[in-house]
């Protein structure tokens, strides 16, 4: 079949370039079949473009090792093609943003190369998923951070290339903070090894004696494939005092996990936000919690029983109970190394909670909630339930900050969402649907206001871009870095207000990638956005901010 016979036409790869790709990885592992390519083109998750199809790659390759990745990248350089890495493929970030891109599907590079029990780290390849790493680590009394997007995701990708937040951050930190070393195929095909690995000393240290380049290779949000391909990395592992295998029957809503020793699952509720905030700070100072997240009961009901929520939310009394009475809560899993320790932890928790006028309910030993939910939190396996209500969701996040700033963001997000719920633009989830986490005790926190929508409802699809802009403007108003820093559509507008950050990124890109072979759309480039669809008052706010906050060549505005 040729593209001429199809209704739509797409860019194609030359035979010569295709042969070079075949030579790099073997003919069996290359395809330019349009149907196969579209498997990498349909990227609906956290994609605010109603079309959901991103740019179709001209070919997809499946390398099996670093050397093959290098050959693919060199072939792309030779033929004037771009390339974009693809690991487990969760979210629009995995897709191509330019024409003439070769998608490098790293699925065959899927191994756990090493788990160093004594030094508590694992060396993994790109297609190893969070659930696999955790399952193997737990056998050795260790555990691995799993990001909020869930256990299907690649820990390598979130550590080296993008984001990295999760419920277990209070104990197991954040993706890039756990990165101890990486093997990095640069955009010209050369391999760079960072951390102690570069000096042949193994994978244990990110900061030397080899070069520490974490700030360049990923920074805060990640280069999202714009600076090359990461083929191996070493990740810090953490203490796991639980059993080698969490014995569980059932798969999700029917799941029942045998309660392990020295583990408690607490649901805590507080009379108001101030008491919740105070309790959270105290919990952090006390170094409590293995898993921590804020609990919005309405969000839980919406996630696990969307039909039920749709029915009860029509009744004002139930709606108030869910959205107001139980509004200020958190979920905490405590794990101790001994009975004495868990008893102590629980006593501390109870004192903190009662000291703020709250109440806490232990549900692991005494009730069914803990055994049903504990794996959903430990393995982050409940996350894709967010698709259930309407098929898709997106998120509003602002850069990680202190807990109370994140709570401000949650309240702001709730207000914005309520307005869009009222106008029928997104699904009604009682507006407050936060994904919140603490990091490294309470030094910083994370909040995303999740919003769900019906993937087949044109009205919902039409809301996505205006909402995206509105959340970005709101974050900027609060002096927080919006999600849109990784989105080409708003960079032209927001970058000048943030020190022209993407111009610096472009300099890094050019230094490492003179031929611009990497697909840098997510990393640093800009595309036009039609702001005419944005609400006039949001547009006015944006214009006012641009006038006030844009950096000049001399520096920030006075």
């Amino acid at each position: 079949m040729t593209s001429e016979t199809m209704t739509q036409s797409f860019e194609t790869i030359s035979d010569e370039a295709y042969r070079d790709l075949e030579a790099a990885v073997g003919a069996e592992y290359v395809s330019r079949e349009p149907g196969v390519l579209d498997g990498y083109t349909w990227q609906p998750t956290i994609n605010d473009d109603p079309a959901k199809w991103v740019k179709r790659p001209v070919a997809v390759v499946l390398p099996s090792c670093t050397e093959e990745v290098q050959e693919v990248v060199r072939a792309c350089n030779r033929h004037g093609l771009k390339f974009k890495a693809f690991s487990t493929g969760w979210g629009v970030y995995s897709g191509c943003t330019y024409d003439n891109v070769v998608q490098v599907d790293l699925r065959r590079m899927n191994r756990i190369l090493e788990i160093d029990e004594k030094n508590m780290y694992a060396v993994i390849e790109p297609y190893n998923c969070g659930a696999q790493l955790q399952a193997e680590a737990m056998k050795l009394g260790l555990n691995a951070h799993i990001i909020g997007a869930g256990p299907a995701c690649s820990p390598l990708a979130s550590a080296t290339s993008g984001w990295g937040v999760g419920w277990d951050g209070v104990y197991m930190s954040y993706g890039h903070r756990n990165l101890l070393g990486a093997e990095w195929v640069l955009p010209d095909g050369e391999v760079l090894r960072v951390g102690s690995l570069d000096s042949g000393l193994g994978w244990f240290s990110p900061d030397g004696p080899g070069p520490s380049l974490r700030g360049i290779m990923r920074g805060s949000a990640g280069a999202l494939g714009g600076l090359g391909i990461f083929t191996k990395c070493s990740l810090k592992l953490y203490n796991w005092p639980g059993p080698p295998h969490m014995k569980t029957e059932g798969v999700m809503l029917d799941a029942q996990t045998e309660p392990p020793e020295h583990m408690r699952f607490h649901l805590c509720f507080f009379p108001d936000r101030a008491s919740l905030d105070e309790a959270v700070y105290k919990m952090g100072e006390s170094e409590l919690a293995y898993i921590f997240t804020r609990t919005a009961v309405g969000a839980y009901v919406n996630t696990f029983a969307p039909h039920l929520l749709q029915n009860v939310s029509r009744t004002r009394a139930f709606r108030d109970v869910l959205s107001k009475t139980l509004k200020w809560g958190c979920t905490i899993i405590l794990v101790g190394n001994s009975e004495d320790e868990i008893v102590f932890q629980e006593a501390v928790l109870k004192e903190i909670v009662s000291g703020q006028g709250g109440l806490s309910m232990e549900t692991m030993q005494a009730a069914a909630i803990g055994p049903m939910m504990v794996m959903n939190f430990l393995r982050v396996s409940a996350i894709p339930m967010v698709f259930r209500a309407g098929g898709l969701f997106s998120t509003a996040l602002a850069r990680n900050e202190a807990w109370d700033t994140q709570m401000d963001w949650a309240e702001k997000g709730e207000k914005i969402k309520q307005r869009w719920i009222d106008r029928g633009g997104i699904l009604d989830d009682l507006a407050d649907n936060p994904f919140m986490a603490l990091y490294e005790q309470n030094t910083w926190g994370h909040c995303e206001e999740i919003f769900q929508y019906n993937a087949r409802d044109p009205k919902h699809l039409a809301s996505l871009e205006p909402l995206f802009v509105e959340f970005s403007v709101a974050a900027m108003e609060m002096c927080m870095e919006p999600l849109s820093v990784t989105d080409a559509r708003l960079r032209e507008v927001i970058s000048p207000m943030m020190g022209h950050y993407n111009e610096w990124q472009k300099k890094i890109s050019l230094f490492l990638d003179a031929r611009r072979a990497a697909d840098t759309g997510m990393y640093c480039d800009e595309v036009d956005i039609d702001l005419s669809k944005i609400d006039p008052e949001i547009r006015e706010t944006l214009d006012r901010m641009v006038a006030k906050l844009t950096w000049s060549e001399e520096g920030p505005p006075s």
């Binding site: 149907g35 196969v36 990498y40 998750t45 299907a152 339930m385 698709f387 098929g391 993937a455 087949r456």
Partner: protein
């Protein structure tokens, strides 16, 4: 239904890739974390449940076309349902297996045919079985058993042997043993003998729906004539089709349909089947896809927005037959059961289904060997299952790979314990 009727399912794919993994709470190791043989073997996303839905959507939107290569991708799949079960952990609004079936039917409509499947369908039309064996020899397996002939007599229980069991000489002792167990328990049992035909389920899976309907009508009339109140089949494939496909097509058999393991377990519970002899063996049990997750009974179709579909009508895979075979197995004195990592509704497929064994036998054997390795990892001395297609491909795979693990039909062990002297073999 047509492919376009499943557009909402296909465009509902969030591409989360849950369809490629064992439901996450049940992942116990790196090695056995994946659930889909097709994507594991061929790697491109197109070979996953999600990937095939995207292909369907792409074709409907005019972005790509169906051709030989795409048809091969669509058919290199055992139709085992693992992707559907994993997807439905999170989704109420996508029926992945139905999309895959619809894609196959679309291929047939468009003339994109797999040569080996055409040969299979030709054989089916000619001899009424998918193996192409002579129809006249279909009932030979029952010689000397004294079974009623439903073509001339009525009976309480109709035994539908299925294609594989009827003709595979390697499985003949097992089949005869199953019948002898029932006769020993005093069951009034009849068969159609040479007049028995394929259930038509495999034809449906290959996209040849007209043939499937014809065979359903044939079996329907046979059941009515027999007067049977219960139909028992040892074929897991057939069981799923009789429990789900037939009622969905509006072909109500008007009798209870049971898999032979269910029926034997019932007889054991009633004390009519006595398992006295010890069979000292550490075994692991393989859930056949079509007895397990695909073996759910049909309840009703839901034509409205699937986001609003009652949970009770969602085909989640959990209501298949999982416990009865295990209960029967563990009721045998001396048998000890050790479970594999992937079991019940998240079981790994044997590799034989969906026309793969016939068209791509290397892929079928590769899939079976993956399962044999998982079974071996449990430390079990034998693999036990309850489907003739599974037994066949496991034995062939073990022979090919040299992996030493005896493979038994569950009935083989029941026979040994009940003192039935048909020779059980592995």
């Amino acid at each position: 239904m047509a492919l376009a009727d499943y557009k909402r399912d296909m465009e509902g794919c969030s591409r989360c890739s849950s369809c490629k993994w064992v439901p996450f709470n049940q992942i116990k190791s790196w090695r056995f974390a994946k659930n889909c043989p097709s994507i594991c073997r061929y790697n491109f996303h197109a070979y996953s449940g999600s990937g095939r839905m995207i292909i369907g959507n792409s074709i409907l939107e005019g972005r790509s076309e169906l051709n030989d290569s795409v048809a091969e991708i669509i058919f290199r799949c055992q139709m085992c349902g693992a992707c559907d079960t994993a997807c439905k952990v999170y989704r109420d609004d996508i029926d992945l297996t139905e999309v895959l079936l619809e894609l196959r039917a679309y291929c047939i409509e468009q003339g994109e045919l797999i040569v080996e499947h055409m040969a299979m369908i030709d054989a089916l039309k000619r001899e009424d079985n998918v193996l192409g064996e002579p129809k006249a020899r279909r009932g030979e397996w029952a010689q000397g058993l004294g079974l009623k002939d439903i073509n001339s007599e009525t009976c309480e229980v109709l035994f539908h042997a299925g294609c594989r069991y009827s003709y595979d000489p390697d499985l003949r002792d097992t089949l005869r043993g199953q019948v002898r167990l029932m006769l020993q328990a005093g069951v009034d049992l009849g068969i159609a003998g040479a007049e028995e035909s394929c259930c038509g389920g495999r034809a449906y899976e290959l996209g040849y729906r007209g043939e499937a309907e014809n065979y359903a009508d044939d079996l329907l009339s046979r059941v009515k004539a027999s007067g049977a109140r219960t139909l028992v089949t040892p074929c897991a494939d057939g069981y799923a089709h009789l429990k789900f496909l037939y009622p969905r097509m509006g072909k109500e058999l008007g009798c209870e349909v049971l898999h032979v393991t269910q029926y034997l377990q019932r007889l054991a519970q009633q004390g009519k089947l006595r398992l006295r002899e010890s069979v000292p063996l550490l075994v692991t049990y393989h859930d056949p896809c079509h007895l397990g997750r695909m073996g759910e009974p049909f309840l009703a179709d839901w034509r409205e927005d699937k986001l609003q579909r009652p949970m009770s009508l969602k085909r989640s895979g959990r209501k298949g037959i999982f416990d009865e075979p295990r209960d029967l197995l563990t009721s045998i004195p001396g048998v000890e059961l050790t479970e594999m990592e992937r079991i019940r509704e998240y079981s790994w497929c044997c590799g034989a289904g969906g026309g793969v064994l016939e068209a791509w036998p290397d892929f079928a054997l590769w899939t079976a060997n993956e399962r044999l390795e998982e079974a071996k990892a449990t430390g079990a001395e034998a693999l036990v299952t309850a489907c003739p297609w599974c037994v066949r491909v496991f034995r062939d795979a073990a022979a090919e790979s040299g992996l030493e693990l005896p493979v038994y039909d569950l009935a083989d062990l029941v026979m040994l314990s009940a003192g039935i002297t048909e020779t059980a073999r592995a």
